[in-house]
Amino acid sequence: MTGILSILAFEPGWELHRFVSYGLEALSHRGGSRRLVCWRRSERVLCGDLESADVRGLAESGTAIAAWLDGRRFDGQVIEGENAVTLSDRPSGLLSEIARDVERALSTDRPYAKLEEELRAYEDTSVPSFATLTSGGELVVWRTNSGLTPLSIGGYGFDMAITSSETSAIEMLDADVRRHLMPGEGVYMSRRQVRLFRSGASESGRLCLFELLYTARHDSTVDGISVYEFRRELGRRLGRYLESPVDVVTGVPETALPYAVGLSQAVGVPFELGFVGTARRERSMMKESTRERLIAVHLKLNPIRRVFAGKRVAVVDDSMVTGATLKTVAQLLRYRVGARELHVLLASPKLVSSCPYGVVGLDPDSMISAHLDVSQIEKYLDVDSLAWLREEDVEFAARTFHARFCGACFGIDSLGGDR
């Protein structure tokens, strides 16, 4: 899964290339290895890698859509139609079908009404959210009912409208966030009209829990929920599972820091920064191979010795897949630094199965919690205690923040909402 971005300049003269480039930069943490951008040029939509894109052409186009492509399988992520190109945030076998329907709706004289009709068919079908750009300069951005990933709309003065997978990109582009598209909501935009539409929205419309747990940036607002506050709240809930007294609370950078802050606030034990990374910040879980993942982990974890030496430490992480990160942390702290006790707390329930929707690329065979029991994992990690949040904690957070989540990879079908 990756990030998508679209920009419509109402007024001429904007160098869209720069906006696309910085916008995608602000979405780079969502994964992907190639940056694709599409723009229109004399009645056609052209696409190309951002590095080699036609800067003048983009400026003249006035509209662009762009995405990070998941290197291996970008086939189902980009559909080049007759008069339009559609980009989604993950590959899907159904994208070409939906792209065709969108194009058909747009060729009528009431495109947004038609869109509402055509897209209703996809209410319960798992299709990713997408953005379509037509050769006529129209943009359609739809958060599918079953898309699971977020989308927001922003505005820049009288000059631009921007949609993005995350609000952080809108803010980085100096624009204001105006609205979050909820499941089933979309927007049709051209220089001549902007219409919000809603199609096939239903109870089954949910947000991927992983989005708030791991994927989104702390500074983003997802479906109206502050990512940072959500994480800190779950961190507070972790306080219930810390059974032994500790001297210091720390988190595995980068994602786990707000959870650790929450735990620290809940139990009244100081939070300390524990690690400093080397090289540029990368999201280790997004890496493809074990080797790459480990390299990323090893690069981001040099401990600040004085924080841990001789101390009883609570270490917080957002989740545990293979346990490789926590194993590295535990070894460093116990053997190299000399921490007295290590208590590991995970700010999510146990991961137990793969994502049936292809949002999170996790292999169940590699999920340690699906194969070993707690005491076995404690022994393997070499820690004094190990605890996860439970379903009820996430349910509590879902209700607190008025969200409806998919937690399939945690073995939970649906969380929150009006059930």
Binding site: F10, G155, A161, R191
Partner: protein, 496 residues
Amino acid sequence: MRVLLVGSGAREHALAKLIVSSQNAVELHVAADYVNPGLKREAERSGGRLFAVDTNVPRAVAGVAEEVSPDLVVVGPEEPQFRGVADALRERGFSVFGASRACSEVERSKVFGRYLMWKHGIPGRLHFMAFRSLSEAEEFVKYAGDVVVKPARQVGGKGVRVIRDTKAFLSETKQQVKSGSVLRTFEELRSLAEDYVVLVEQRVEGVEYTAQAITDGSYVLPLPLVQDYPHAYELDLGYETGGMGCISGPGYLLPFITRDEYEATEKIVGRVLEKLQEEVGDRYAGAFAGQMMLTGLWGPTVIEFYSRFGDPEIACLMPRVESDFLELLDRAARSALAGAKLRVSEDTVSVVKAIAPAGYPAFKKEASGHPVVVDEGRIRELGCHLLYASVEQGIDGMMYTKGSRAFEIVCAAEDYERAYRLAEAAVSYVKSLDGWPLYYRSDIGSRQLLEARRREAERVRTVHASKQARGTLGETFTVWMPGRGIVANPLLSPLR
């Protein structure tokens, strides 16, 4: 009483409705640029008629006045004021409500309005630079930072570019856009060689609202605040327009403006009116308005002035006015406003939505000439009003769009939720007959938008309170340059 109303759009239609609802028997005549079906009907029902003339030509309007012999002439729009229509009528002895050419300078020239505020130290003033010469303007924008570029004179709600420039990595492209916009404005306003052409102004953020007033020159009667929505599209996206709708109430306030802020605003409006008359040496008899923004910089801050009622702002007040509005206009025209009171319904609010043909405002040609129909009966059943704006009656008796906002729907109710629902229902009775899409903003009056405004107001209020406490209202400190000190001019970029 015989009244001649000058002007052609929805503002005049709202005024016409207010005028004919007077307790006095009224015979209303209208001088309009085209046959606006709404104005025509109001006039004919009262026993008057609509005269199609070029309202920007003083002689033409005076001709109509001579034919009608009105007791009062109301000059609605700004352009005829700029051209001296009110003066020509007063010279011929008519009693006129509407700013003279000299007084309307406060709207015509955005430089003049700002100059007045600086000269007299009136709070709520923004830093600006005005240019007559293209090369000087071009040179200046190379160094400009977080600014707004505007035409220096009123050109009917377009040409303003708000270029927020707070990210150095995007600054180069923004500088190009500013330069392009300066160049374009010079090209478009080339005919005004002697005058200022471009204004570069400090950009501010906050919540906008309009403070309108009626004055006879010595007495100022404030009207309830209105919030107008300048962006063409939902969510405050897209082009600057003349206004896609507005809200007002409850009472004189808006849900996100406090009484203190209202009073501070009225003080600004009053002082500007006083200094304006001193400066131009003429009496101001007519409507006046401050287009305001509540900012962290000043609290109530002036964006610009109107020498007339706002459109659609006056439409928002129309269903809430309980006094005899004609009497107020008449007293203002006769310098007898002292002691006058305006009664508005305290516990109702109103929502106005403009309906425009797709293509407005950037592609007006495409947006013109489309046949439209309205089921006015249904709108009336809902208790709402329909105002005719940029629509014209063709010789075939059908109504055609003229490229701008075609209609305004006006609904009042005891709270925003109800007024919103009524307005949403009412817009559905306006239809295009040739399939050309019409659009309006469904977010105006909605709870979400009101809440967003409330949050924004809270944010700027916090900034304002802290600036006030530290005694730095109105001041910005752009950058400290080693060896040169602090640059306090907010128009300059810290980069260049």
